[in-house]
């Protein structure tokens, strides 16, 4: 049983487990000697807008106090005044490294509320897009971790492949970063030939680049020395905080929403759940790398299954899915449905649903309460970054400042998702 209340932190024990020596001194004289360091809000090494007020004893961190809210945009409140389809652009801007996962996760939540069945083909298309997004997200995280350890080269090599992924997005939905992908009941359009060709090309070209990236970092002694035993967290503490995703798996708990609670047809796919040993930065790096390979495996399987999958790219449910444009221009009934859907009048039932997807960073949940109107009554995003960031001070106590930077970047805290 995982308790929701946090156990009080025993500082002495914490320090010992972090391997630091004699850092605790209760006397005020000693505390007066500490330096207060403002890390952030706009520090280049934090990759986003967060502030950390660190108490430093020389180069060692004694305590940290994180501040959230620098780019708080009140998404949950805005969502209360928007019809369901206008909330997708809001979800783009949470974890902007993997927006398709956010978009599609949101649509699956609404579909759960409305009871829409998505055809198999649309599900597989979604899986392809989500796994591509995961690859892009992990590529950024790991290559930026490399940059933070001082190795810039690997970052540039893999960024070309991330660019390829963005071109696939562009072909599928029309934008690269803020994708606004998917529609209620499926996808907005079928993959065209260029998109399919680009995905196939990506599957072929990506492995050598990834291997090269890994050969630069995986067994490199400098990288290992910088990351092993840095920013570690035990499985128990991680679970108490509510960690999910790669950061939890790095501690050795193989929790993955795709396996534990399959959605969108993930049960049809073969993949493994990589886990680490002790939850330090190196573990997180290795877990993310392996997840990239597993995602690639899923995409390959999905591309094989896609031509044989049943159904079209959207659910044939006229109440929710926009009619074809040609019908709207000519047929009265289609035009009425078109108006109705665009005005947001989709007769949502009263009720509450929670749906979680395995986002780039962990369990990305949507808790939606509907009171039957055209907008949600209340919407809460369960944002994994928000949870990781709470644990950050505990994880960096006793380390040097440069290690804290690595810890933060390997947690993959993304400002947009942190603040929502």
């Amino acid at each position: 049983m995982i308790t929701t209340e946090l156990a009080p932190i025993n500082k002495d024990e914490l320090m010992r487990s972090m391997g630091s020596k004699n850092l605790i001194a209760e006397d005020a004289v000693y505390l007066n000697d500490l330096t207060t360091l403002n890390l952030g809000p706009t520090h280049p090494a934090t990759h986003g807008i967060f502030q950390n007020i660190l108490q430093m004893d020389g180069e060692r961190i004694v305590s940290g106090e994180p501040t959230v809210g620098y780019i708080h945009r009140a998404f949950e409140k805005i969502a209360e005044n928007r019809p369901y389809y206008q909330i997708t652009p809001l979800t783009d801007r949470m974890n902007y490294c993997s927006s398709p996962i956010n978009n599609i996760g949101w649509w699956m939540t609404v579909e759960k509320l409305l009871g829409v069945q998505v055809p198999q083909k649309a599900q597989y298309m979604r899986i392809i897009m989500m796994e591509l997004a995961r690859i892009a997200d992990h590529l950024i995280c790991n290559s930026i971790l490399g940059v933070d350890t001082g190795a810039f080269t690997g970052f540039l090599y893999v960024f070309q492949k991330r660019e390829d992924i963005y071109e696939i997005y562009e072909e599928v939905c029309g934008a690269r970063l803020t994708t606004n992908m998917g529609r209620l009941g499926g996808m907005e359009r079928d993959f065209n030939d260029i998109a399919i060709a680009k995905i196939k090309k990506f599957i072929k070209d990506f492995p050598p680049v990834m291997k090269e990236f890994q050969s630069l970092f995986d067994r490199n002694r400098i990288f290992m020395d910088r990351t092993i035993d840095v920013g570690g967290i035990t499985a128990e503490r991680a679970l108490n905080y509510g960690f999910t995703g790669p950061n939890l798996r790095a501690t050795g708990v193989d929790y993955d929403v795709r396996v534990m609670n399959p959605y969108s047809g993930y049960q049809d796919f073969q993949f493994e759940v990589p886990i680490g040993e002790s939850g330090d930065t190196y573990d997180r790096y290795c877990v993310r790398n392996e997840e990239i390979w597993q995602s690639l495996r899923i995409i390959e399987q999905a591309m094989e299954k896609l031509p044989k999958a049943e159904g079209g790219h959207f659910a044939n449910d006229a109440r929710y899915y926009l009619p074809a444009k040609a019908d709207v221009y000519t047929k009265m009934e289609a035009l009425i449905y078109h108006f109705k859907i665009i005005m947001g009048e989709i007769d949502a039932p009263v009720g509450e649903v929670y749906h979680a997807v395995e986002g780039g960073n962990g369990e990305l949940g949507y808790y939606l309460i509907s009171d039957g109107g055209r907008t949600p009554y209340r919407l809460h995003f369960r944002r994994p970054c928000f949870i990781y960031y709470q644990a950050f001070p505990e994880m960096c106590v006793g380390q040097s400042l440069s290690d804290a930077i690595l810890t933060m970047s390997s947690l993959n805290v993304i400002a947009g998702e942190l603040d929502a």
């Binding site: 934008a175 606004n180 002694r221 680490g276 040993e277």
Partner: protein, 166 residues
């Protein structure tokens, strides 16, 4: 902790002797970077002169289309403004008068139509909402940079497709 039977341990923190002495890793890393140094494939393009091919469905700058006879298609129904999550579109509707049939296709038209490009997030929902094939996001034109704030409120002068010369 084991929750499924699919887990796989991936990190190995024990360094071998060769990894400890580090020299082979230096040579390996250098050979990779040197290979790239002599490789001829450039990832960048010389942007303003050279443009990358955009996808057919790319969501760029808006355009208000005319029909085959050169009349404005927009009927000021307001669906695009309603669908816009950023509340970027405003318009004023007007009745078509006698003698204006060659200008506007429907009986009602938008006498002013403005898109605030500072608010617009290029989500494409207006294009999807339009029942009259009027507003489109072009795939090859982007919203340009600007110097004054009023330059980014795009009125009909900038949005409506220019009349084709015969």
């Amino acid at each position: 902790m084991q929750l499924s039977n699919r887990s796989k341990k991936v990190s190995n923190k024990k360094m071998t002797f060769a990894e400890k002495i580090y020299l082979p890793a230096i040579a390996g890393g250098l050979s990779i970077t040197l290979k790239h140094f002599f490789r001829k494939n450039t990832a960048t393009i010389k942007y303003p002169e050279q443009q990358r091919p955009m996808s057919q469905v790319f969501r760029g700058l808006h355009i208000l289309k005319r029909d085959e006879e050169g009349r404005e298609r927009c009927t000021a129904c307001g669906l695009c403004a309603l669908a816009c999550p950023a509340e970027a579109i405003t318009m004023v509707a007007e009745e078509r008068k006698k003698g204006e049939e060659h200008l506007y296709r429907e009986e009602k038209y938008a006498s002013t139509y403005e898109v605030n490009m500072l608010r617009c997030i290029f989500c494409g929902l207006c294009e999807e909402a339009c029942p009259k094939e009027a507003i489109f996001l072009q795939n090859n034109v982007m919203a340009p940079a600007f110097f004054e704030r009023d330059q980014v409120i795009y009125g009909k002068d900038k949005l409506v497709e220019p009349v084709k010369k015969v």
